[in-house]
């Protein structure tokens, strides 16, 4: 008899325990990836089973942040998918220029790669001074890491290549200092950034945004969670505001699709309809 049904039961109980005890809701995450991550957490944190992990978690809140790192942290790259940033520069930013002040929300910012990409891009485009950046994630430790602006130096090579391909108008090395194997990004890049602990699933609408970028976050949700998050984006966007998704995400199956028009099909950029 295969062990899968028992592990499924343990998974359901563990997710329920996390929700009831700590109010983090993973119950409607896409299960196949989540199971992989839970197994990795179980093995690397040294528990014999998910129920053993559950028992420890219920009695010791200090275990939660460690588990959240396994379940939520998403290592990305600066200017990942350079074509996305190129499309923003060439097609979206001309619209954004017409506003006297701008709000940009990086939803699910994890350790900050996408956030710094946006700030640098907006500085290059001469729009940083009139923009407020909101960087949110459900993982407090990831937010702290994002706010530190420190990345391993061996990642800089690919960041730099991406930045150039994205139409970068400066050199990425202008923004960091290399130090003992680490690249420390200029803290002035965070002058206009507000970091906030926010859940796309359980928290409320977030301001009148001109651009929301949420990439490779919703593929981890099931359809119900996806629709909740998309409803939140719809209600958080200003009229004619923009929504950028991951390269393999779309609004196609969402009940909120009619509220958006396809602005750049290839790069998955959508625009909130006026009415």
């Amino acid at each position: 008899m295969s062990p899968a049904p028992l592990e499924d039961l343990e998974t359901r109980l563990l997710l329920e325990a996390i929700y009831q005890r700590y109010h983090y809701d993973f119950r409607s995450y896409a299960q196949a990836s989540l199971r992989r991550r839970l197994r990795q957490a179980r093995d690397q944190m040294g528990y014999a089973s998910l129920s053993a992990l559950q028992e420890a978690l219920l009695h010791d809140p200090a275990i939660l942040p460690k588990l959240l790192d396994y379940l939520t942290v998403q290592v990305s790259e600066m200017f990942r998918d350079p074509g996305y940033y190129r499309a923003l520069r060439e097609k979206v930013i001309p619209h954004l220029r017409t506003y006297p002040s701008l709000k940009i929300w990086i939803a699910g910012c994890s350790t900050g790669e996408e956030l710094y990409s946006f700030v640098i891009m907006m500085r290059e485009e001469g729009l940083e001074d009139r923009t407020l950046f909101y960087a949110t994630d459900i993982n407090q430790r990831a937010l702290e890491s994002a706010a530190s602006g420190v990345f391993a130096l061996d990642r800089i090579k690919s960041f730099t290549e991406n930045h150039q391909k994205s139409g970068g108008k400066s050199s990425l090395s202008d923004y960091y200092t290399a130090n003992y194997g680490r690249a420390v990004f200029d803290k002035a890049l965070r002058n206009r950034v507000v970091f906030s602990d926010h859940s796309l699933v359980t928290d409320a609408v977030f301001g009148e945004m001109h651009l929301i970028s949420c990439r490779n976050v919703m593929i981890y949700f099931d359809r119900d969670f996806q629709d909740r998050a998309l409803g939140l984006f719809k209600d958080s966007l200003a009229r004619k505001g923009f929504l950028g998704l991951g390269a393999k995400e779309s609004l196609r199956f969402s009940e909120h699709a009619p509220a958006f028009s396809e602005f750049d099909r290839t790069e998955r950029i959508y625009q909130r309809r006026a009415a």
Partner: protein, 190 residues
């Protein structure tokens, strides 16, 4: 083989994959009834040019896998830079989780998730490749009661991947590439 009905086929290939799949998949009939999920290692940033190439040459439908898409007969390729997984409700899932054995997409990730869902009704195939991705996944398929098929390492373009798979799964059937399509057709008819 184990005698159970095959409800899905998963294939992993790396170095030499384009040539191997260009020979194997066009030999399948357009009404081949079993879904085929494929992971080929493609460098990130490169779009998967294999999909339009093969779709033009195959009688069977070939497409890039989409997140949450229901699995139907046809060939689905993992997109470049995303893992491909199978959900219990027999839909496809993509993830941008960390690389596994330096690879995204990873053969192991696809094989292990498919093994959980299809159990003994799954056939895993490891073709040519110059690394050992796929071994752990093929092992998982065998452990779940599924069937394993490996391209004959002595005749494969790159022997490392099929050889490693054979070590991990010594009961697997091996055959040269040119026999695999006919074998699949026979299996689907049985």
């Amino acid at each position: 083989m184990n005698g159970a009905r095959v409800e899905a086929i998963v294939i992993g290939a790396s170095a030499g994959a384009v040539q191997a799949l260009s020979r194997m998949l066009p030999a399948l009939p357009g009404d081949f009834p079993v879904p085929i999920l494929v992971v080929v290692h493609v460098p990130p940033g490169r779009s998967n040019a294999l999909v339009p190439l093969l779709d033009g040459r195959c009688a069977i439908a070939v497409k890039e896998a989409e997140d949450k898409e229901p699995i139907r007969p046809g060939v689905y390729f993992a997109p470049a830079d995303y893992h491909l997984l199978v959900e219990r409700d027999r839909t496809l899932a993509l993830s941008s989780d960390d690389l596994v054995l330096f690879s995204r997409p990873s053969v192991d990730v696809l094989f292990e998730s498919a093994a959980e869902v299809y159990g003994e009704n799954l056939l895993g195939i490891v073709l040519t490749g110059a690394n050992d991705d796929g071994s752990a996944g093929l092992r998982a398929i065998c452990d779940a009661g599924g069937a394993a098929l490996i391209e004959d390492p002595d005749r494969a373009y790159a022997a490392a991947m099929p050889s490693a798979a054979l070590v991990a799964c010594s009961g697997a059937l091996t055959m040269p590439l040119e026999s695999i399509a006919a074998y699949l057709v026979e299996l689907a008819d049985a």
